[in-house]
Subunit: 397 residues, 2 copies
């Protein structure tokens, strides 16, 4: 579909009468899907002036007797690379910082408490090229790099937690796909790294960095317990479950993924994680098409080319009760602000009891056995092996 379709929401809003539109939202996004909220004039002016979409929505939870509501506003920012990838690295980085400053200013005016960028937000997503230069020049220290320093100041100024997914160069010159968590006082609270690395299509990331060795940390910030599941990790339900076991209330999924590959998966995976683990999930995708200086091939027999398709945005927030927000567009920069009540997490746990009924020891045992070379599948019936059950077309048959 490329850029020809702005969004699912825009098609439906244009064509459906109000009552049927509401029925469709009830089915697609849940009867408790968040309602649109007012947007401060000044925030809207920034968005209009710099051509990004600004949406504000709100989820509700029940009032409790012993806990006051714990309302948090999350801000998800999706953006296209603002300058050509052929520009000097410093020019690209400066343009991205300028873009970020505006988005964070609009977020602050909207009252955002926790702001998150897309995956490796401060560079083009150059891993399709398999080139190391100049792209690794974007890699930085998570604790002291220029992007972290820049964001620490903004976090402190706006009293906002900022999650900054970057390409990290550590003290041993090892690269990692990392998310830095900056507290609302401007201090770096910690970092987490991508747990699962894709080897699919143009996502040659295993050429650049390895799987995280940092586990599944949950960051106990001034605005709730948050975790970050970076990009391809959203395909692995066990990964989402691990963040839940460690107590996450909001899990951000900063991503960079293109339409031809993953669009039918996008609306499903982060939302399923919110349901299965009784937390909020925030899925953020890059937007636009990035063109690189040199042609590269995609391992699919096709001609060399300079881009790897359209990042389709469509960022959204899903709630533990299965409802979700509308998405940002497929084609433009956008800031999605969602006001939520963390109390909903435990309320859903107390209702559905997935955590009580999940039989963790049963799966711990199975997964331990399945991790060993002598694992025998539990198969009833003809007992044919997978190879035998398929017709053997080789000569040795």
């Amino acid at each position: 579909m490329g850029t020809s379709v702005e969004s699912l929401e825009s098609i439906l809003e244009k064509n459906l009468p109000a009552d049927e539109l509401n029925q469709v939202w009830n089915i697609l996004y849940g009867e408790n899907h968040p309602k649109g909220n007012g947007i401060p004039v000044e925030a809207q002016e920034i968005a209009d002036g710099h051509n990004f979409e600004l949406k504000v929505h709100s989820f509700n939870a029940a009032l409790e007797q012993l806990r006051p509501p714990r309302r948090v506003k999350v801000g998800l920012f999706q953006h296209a690379h603002p300058v050509p990838t052929t520009a000097p690295v410093l020019d690209q980085l400066n343009a991205l910082h300028k873009l970020a400053e505006r988005a964070i200013a609009a977020a602050a005016l909207t009252g955002v408490n926790v702001f998150c960028f897309q995956e490796t937000w401060n560079m083009p997503f150059a891993f399709c090229t398999r080139e190391k230069l100049p792209w690794v020049e974007f890699a930085q220290s998570a604790e002291n790099g220029p992007t972290t320093k820049f964001l620490k100041e903004l976090a402190r100024r706006h009293k906002m937690v900022i999650i900054s997914p970057i390409l990290e160069r550590d003290q041993f010159d090892v690269f990692w796909n990392t998310a830095v968590v900056i507290e609302s006082n401007g201090e770096v609270l910690g970092k987490t790294r991508k747990n699962h690395i894709p080897r699919v299509g143009d996502f040659n990331e295993s050429t650049y960095y390895m799987e995280s060795t940092l586990g599944h940390p949950v960051f106990d910030t001034s605005f709730g317990k948050i975790a970050i599941n970076i990009c391809y990790g959203r395909h692995i339900p066990l990964n989402w479950a691990a963040f839940g076991l460690n107590g996450a209330e909001i899990v951000f999924n900063p991503s960079a993924t293109v339409g031809a590959l993953s669009e039918p998966l996008w609306s499903i995976e982060a939302r399923n994680a919110a349901i299965a683990n009784s937390y909020f999930s925030c899925a953020i995708n890059r937007v636009g098409t990035e063109v690189f200086p040199n042609p590269f091939t995609s391992g699919d027999g096709g001609e060399p080319h300079k881009d790897f398709g359209h990042f389709y945005g469509s960022s959204y927030v899903a709630a533990p009760n299965g409802s979700r927000s509308p998405g940002l567009t497929r084609v433009r920069n956008g800031l999605l602000v969602v006001d939520l009540d963390l109390n909903l997490c435990r309320q859903v746990k107390d209702k559905w009891n997935f955590q009580m009924n999940m039989r963790l020891p049963l799966y711990a045992d199975l997964f331990t056995r399945a991790s060993k070379p002598n694992f025998k599948k539990q198969i009833v019936g003809r007992g044919l092996s997978e190879d035998q059950s398929e017709k053997d077309l080789t000569n040795g048959n």
Copy 2:
């Protein structure tokens, strides 16, 4: 929404121009969503004559050099309870068998290889009542009960694998929520039982039966390796993963679930399982509203009543590539026939590599530790416990 909305599909088809309708399907159901196929006249006549919807769709896979296509037609049947729940048990059972015979006849005419009913298909879903009588009279031997005998004959006649989810009474008079797998030669291949039992809303199933002790069997049938994840088990991603590890190519999810509770979860969970585990998933839900003889309460402070809401049907099939079929209606009996190629499972595994990149030993270790009482969550930051992080409103504060 109750019964006021027939289906998402019907609203969209009524209102959207063809090109925009196609764009919406591409976003919602994937660019490779299955296309409608021809329906044999005789099958359509049975459906029309007995007032059930009949839909036929087809998924494609790529041609391979060494494996021929392995095409299988699955049939999913959703139905309302055909007679009042006040009728004698035998009358209810006979009416259900008659209904089943017609559905299986239509399925046979459409070429179905593997047919599956909804959860405890041969009885009303009476677990809302908390009454044992007369409902446990519907319980039967999985191997030799009247329903199994009835279906063995149909399976043999039509050379069809039939999955029959029933309430089982075993040799020790223990009840189980069981699915019987009958091979296409009419023999019982085996059975599986519900792994996760709900304690939510009117689903008082833990009053009637316990969690399965049979593991996660995969049945190697004449039409591929299939497994059955019964109802509430669809909320547990680890459960779906276990069937995948044991080699399932199609996992059926016979269910009974009502709109007010689970509708925003329905379209997400089975489809996510298909994506995460690179197999086909078949989600089947009961349809209609069942009224019981005696009033019961729902543990929600409400007045006693005789039904627990509308089962919303909406059965569908999802593919490992993330695409899915349209759903059956929310309001009527229906048979969904989907023609699929099992080769797609391994093709998707070879493309996305989730099975290679899932780091099973990491999660085996984490889940083992989390199963033990001294587990310490991996929390970075203030290190406050969950209780401390919430404002304490008690006097002891």
